[in-house]
Symmetry: C2
Subunit: 477 residues, 2 copies
């Protein structure tokens, strides 16, 4: 028993210190480890397997939308990065520079891509000639580097993994349509697969991407009431096209600039999974993303027949991602370990269960135990996984809704931000001055102007002038 | 007709200029393009889709062998790279160095990984404590950078994509077993999926990997008679473990060094596919790796019903990777284009075929045309793909065997290397002096000491001293 306790005691309670709880879960669930390079991480098998499932599911959805995968170089020549003014201003202060290749100094510095708009634009300028070459709907899976000062595993690191889609279209309408379409792919993926409810909306000008005309975002609420930007989709209009000279001959032979978009989702979603669903026993993974959905733990496995039945059950459950823990650890330790790793369903099977021709299913999310007849186990596990997936989304939605507040006056707004972690919905005049003041007074930022607008009052919560938009505000990761 | 001719005429004949033919195919089959950074490439959708299929198939085979995927950082601190003497000597002259992060100069230079032994070792030193932590059988899919002076698309570029497996074992035997096991995974994959026959063997000390005790390799022969090293697997013994201090407590509580391996395969295999199977009409892809296996080309598609039947056939063939080319190009142009891209089977369907309830299948590899009844098309296409896959391997094997020569005396050896492009099998005394002389005299290198040894004579082909090994020699990419 001492050993079992040790595993759980190794995690700080989330109510005591949420940040420490997060770090403990990352470490004890063996998701990632620190590396020798400050701010970089080693993604361990349990963490990478989640990323592989994210990739598989997103990539499938992308391909259904006509997306094609490509690979662009890791390096961007300084002169290329500088071609679009807003973009370089946004990224130059936080890139890593290669100045030597082999034994020689480079004539021009190369930055390690922080994002690849400039590389795609450079390629499109050479590759797009006629309306027949459009649209280009390309994506790449890769790592990018941003020289962040403060870092946290998965949430903010100097190198992270992501996908970045970059498209070019004949018309502004088509670009806008694609921007929204991909935001909806992200939102549906988060809700259906990660069981994370999101607010879909548009970023204010202050918060939009460097070089974008419009940035759309999905915003999720973590268990501690802080927001996490979970995916963004940008409409560039023809700004990059003009900077890079990306033109096509239209059907009427006139030369036109293309309209572009880009959109990305990153390994930070692993952080979101931890912070939305985790509890004091560790990670809790939604079934549809869990690398292992069912862990079978034999009890008194040294007794004759127990392991045989455990492996029989594994074979019966082969339609799921299932494993048997037949290591020489104690059952209690195995229970804690499968909880720590967030495995959605545990099957306990011992001599008494076998005698009764039944097994015990244990839900990771609620700890509920359910005895089921062995000959119904496949159907019952299937139903249970569905139920868990649904319940996890509903619980996360209820938590978010319970932590979403409304404020119409400034005093109330500041008090709410300070005392009630969560989203605050409030009206806004549209001026950056108010955003700046709110950030200074509360450290909250505008998360998004949601697509679903509400008329909470007629005046800006900050300056009192006529309101233009309802905004979700919150402190964010 | 002028247009159709243009597409094929755009390729130089392989007999006229093989290097130019290669570049033309890369470009016209739209596999990759040059990038703004010298020596780097943009992998386009047609090229990347091949890589995705390589990844999918290799990754599946790896996972069956107990391999787990992880992700290590892109950067290696200089002090870490320097920990293993042979390794740093091998790689330091060809790495790219990051010296600035954001606006500041770094205190220690970071190299962009040319390979990740040092990162895995650094991690293993922290993560491995007991025999219970072994074996570690990790792999990562990523890009690496080597500052090459002369580059060619896919074959040698400053950045390329690959997988690198890195394992740690309790015993020397287990490490050796894993090294050979993974070499065999590569060899089987090449032969079964890429239809490329390979020689399995060991590298000489001169040609082995920097820091390895033994390097095993698979060597393939290209159409022009040059060799291509197609995958390598290294046994490091405990050399890295000693340099990095990777020790574990054995069952008897004694502290032991681990034994390590690494193994990799890269995007250069796309180059191998081109150079083994391609012809003067472009790329020829083996069915099991082809992103599109069947292209349906409607003839007189404006006639009523033709497109309907084309799409019906697509639905009937939905068990394969199938597309319909319903663009407004001429059928002849579409034929050339699907040939250029190497699509294994083309289905031609026009009004006359429809009247006869049949379709014409055209093999990409032989250009053979076969009429088949529409109601047998799924079975016939399936058989044809199997046949093509098998025939392509056999043809490549026959070509390789016909271009593999034997020499027992030096004059004959040099003459053969100079006049008959291909492999030359010859006996070797085991001294690097002979390897150096052969390279100087012929520019051929020892490709490998094959596992299947033959006793061609009793003396070294170069110095005449007693022979120790039969070696495959050849000029190589």
């Amino acid at each position: 028993m001492a050993k079992e306790k040790k595993l759980v005691e190794a995690i700080t309670s989330m109510d005591v210190d949420f940040a420490q709880w997060y770090t403990d879960v990352v470490k004890k669930a063996e998701l990632c480890d620190y590396a020798s390079v400050k701010g970089c991480m080693v993604i361990k098998p349990a963490g990478y397997a989640i990323w592989e499932n994210i990739q598989k599911e997103l990539d499938r959805r992308f391909k259904e939308m006509g997306v094609e995968n490509v690979y662009m170089p890791l390096f961007i020549p300084e002169s290329l990065l500088e071609k679009e003014k807003d973009h370089v201003e946004g990224f130059a202060p936080e890139v890593a520079w290669v100045t030597q290749g082999g034994l020689e100094s480079l004539q021009e510095r190369l930055c390690v891509r922080p994002t690849s708009e400039t590389l795609f634009c450079d390629f499109y300028a050479r590759d797009i000639h006629s309306y027949r070459d459009l649209p280009k709907v390309y994506n790449q899976w890769c790592s990018v580097v941003r020289w962040e000062k403060t870092t946290r595993p998965f949430l903010r690191s100097r190198e992270f993994l992501w996908q970045e889609g970059h498209t070019a279209h004949a018309t502004a309408e088509e670009a806008e349509e694609r921007t929204i379409q991909m935001l909806n792919v992200y939102a549906d993926f988060c809700e259906e697969v990660l069981a994370i409810p999101v607010i879909r909306g548009q970023k204010t000008d202050k918060e939009k991407f460097a070089g974008a005309e419009a940035t759309y975002t999905i915003e999720a609420l973590m268990h501690d009431g802080k927001a996490l930007q979970s995916g963004t989709s940008h409409n560039f209009g023809d700004g990059f096209a003009k900077a890079f000279g990306i033109q096509y001959a239209a059907k009427d032979n006139s030369l036109q600039y293309v309209h572009q978009t880009s959109w990305g989702m990153t390994t930070r979603m692993i952080g979101a999974l931890i912070m939305v669903h985790g509890d004091d026993s560790g990670l809790v993974l939604p079934p549809w993303i869990a690398p292992t959905q069912v862990m079978i733990v034999p009890v008194q496995q040294q007794k004759e027949g127990v392991l045989d039945v455990a492996f029989e059950i594994r074979d019966i459950l082969s339609g799921f991602r299932v494993k048997v823990d037949d290591s020489d650890k104690s059952p209690g330790w195995k229970f804690s370990e499968s909880e720590m790793r967030g495995i959605p369903v545990r099957v306990e099977i011992g001599p008494r269960d076998i005698a009764n021709r039944e097994a015990v299913l244990v839900r990771r999310d609620t700890h509920e135990k359910i005895s089921v007849p062995l000959d119904e186990i496949a159907a019952r596990v299937g139903e249970l996984l569905e139920t868990i997936q649904k319940d996890m989304l509903e619980r996360a939605r209820a938590h978010r809704d319970a932590h979403t507040y409304v404020a119409t006056e400034y005093e109330e707004f500041v008090k709410t931000i300070n005392e009630k972690p969560g989203f605050v919905k409030a009206m806004w005049c549209g001026c950056q001055e108010c955003e700046d003041k709110i950030k200074e007074d509360t450290s909250a930022t505008s998360r998004c102007m949601p697509f679903k607008q509400e008329q909470l009052s007629d005046h800006c919560v900050c300056c009192g002038k006529p309101a233009k938009k309802m905004v979700y505000w919150g402190r964010a990761y």
